[in-house]
Symmetry: C2
Amino acid sequence: MTTKVQTVCIIGTGLIGGSLALALKQAGFCQRIIGAGRTEETLRKAIELGVIDHYETDFSLAVKDADIVVVAVPLSAMKSVFEQIAPALPATAVVTDAGSAKQSVIRDAEAAFGNKVNRFVAGHPISGTEKSGVTAALVDLYKNRKVILTPTEKTDSDALKLITEMWQASGAEVESMSAEHHDMVLAGTSHLPHILAFGLVDCLNNLKEVDEIFRFAAGGFRDFTRIASSDPVMWRDICLSNREDILRMIKKYEEQLKTISSALQDSDGEALMNIFARAKRARDQFNNQ
Amino acid sequence: MTTKVQTVCIIGTGLIGGSLALALKQAGFCQRIIGAGRTEETLRKAIELGVIDHYETDFSLAVKDADIVVVAVPLSAMKSVFEQIAPALPATAVVTDAGSAKQSVIRDAEAAFGNKVNRFVAGHPISGTEKSGVTAALVDLYKNRKVILTPTEKTDSDALKLITEMWQASGAEVESMSAEHHDMVLAGTSHLPHILAFGLVDCLNNLKEVDEIFRFAAGGFRDFTRIASSDPVMWRDICLSNREDILRMIKKYEEQLKTISSALQDSDGEALMNIFARAKRARDQFNNQ
């Protein structure tokens, strides 16, 4: 049975917040959606696109009647937003976020909410595109996608239940795990690949043959580097927020690259073949999931 | 004006050879297509799918009446195929290949064809998918894609013209450059990305959390690692054939990764942001080509 929700306030109506608003509206999950952000132009655009019902640029006003507050801002803005809303939050309101790193957000929430942190549920929808902004918002961005919630021992169970229901209403499958585990897994599946893609494009871009290189790139390159079109601010923030896990993953990757390059140095076809064949098997298996 | 072509012989009727056969048939480029290969089952499948008109497992028989011979086999098999067809080739026949590295193929051709190497035109269609085999062949695989031909000073101009016309008939845009330049450019746009993708999947696959990691991977990961489903034999061969250029590219990439990892180590958000923003600009520009 779904809890009755009047007002959802979404702070940050970009791709992530905007898509959630569209999905919650379509599902009839709440009576109204208030959008909040720093830029009035973006908020007006969100109204125009039918993403939100109403907007506020003052975060205290935005959250004062909210049942749920979703903070969908870059990780570097999280703490400041939490601090701005903390005094104005209704006692029953539940706050959640959509950041790609979870331990840092939980630290920010504990600092800002103090003993009210029991009403905070850290979350991360594993979805997105390389685009950003409210104009990129999609009603089905979360459909059949996973959302990971990372409650702590302080999190109220009714708060966890409400945020679970909200994401389910958007079409997502919700799972819970520890923030530590989340950050380690995401460092591998998402953060490292983004760094590798940004790194490759920048590396090729520094070569003197850069025009030729991009001119003769094919579909494989296009797919491989699509994520290098992602928002640099968002990715700077993710890197800084999940620094330790990402550094560990880069180190493992460097070792892997060293293994490949040594095999190549020695013209060791068998070693190369073993690596490529293992990778193909794993990737094909992933594809058939 | 297109030269009149009776018979095209395609040795290796996989994704690359099979797709060319389909396109040439659709274009009415030649009277008949003979498929050749080691595995009779594959050749029978190619007949069944309407990819080729006739097949031979004896390469001398396959090429004896050919106007054009396309050798679309893995790079490691190139030399042996050239040696098998050399004595049986009609004097006017033109031989081409579809390998992803060109200096090594030219060396193989010179060794096998000797003073008849003027009838050989090295070529590389910049197209493909992560799939392989004749069942993956597509009639429009080369449509609006680039094909690079790398003639040498020994190559007959009428031979270059004929192979240019053949690829144009398949829908491709044909360009010429030196084999050295081709191998350097492709090391960057294709060979390095494949190695990075194979490397990432194998690296993640070695972690104890491997199941979780693949379970929580999203669309970005799927795109990024698609090329890791490519044929390991083909990629072993490409690595060994274009070893020097690939090693140089890996070295540059390792330096890039070191720069990123140092910035991360120092929590230098500005340095990270600069790299990511430069990469995004370059990638967005490539997208708008």
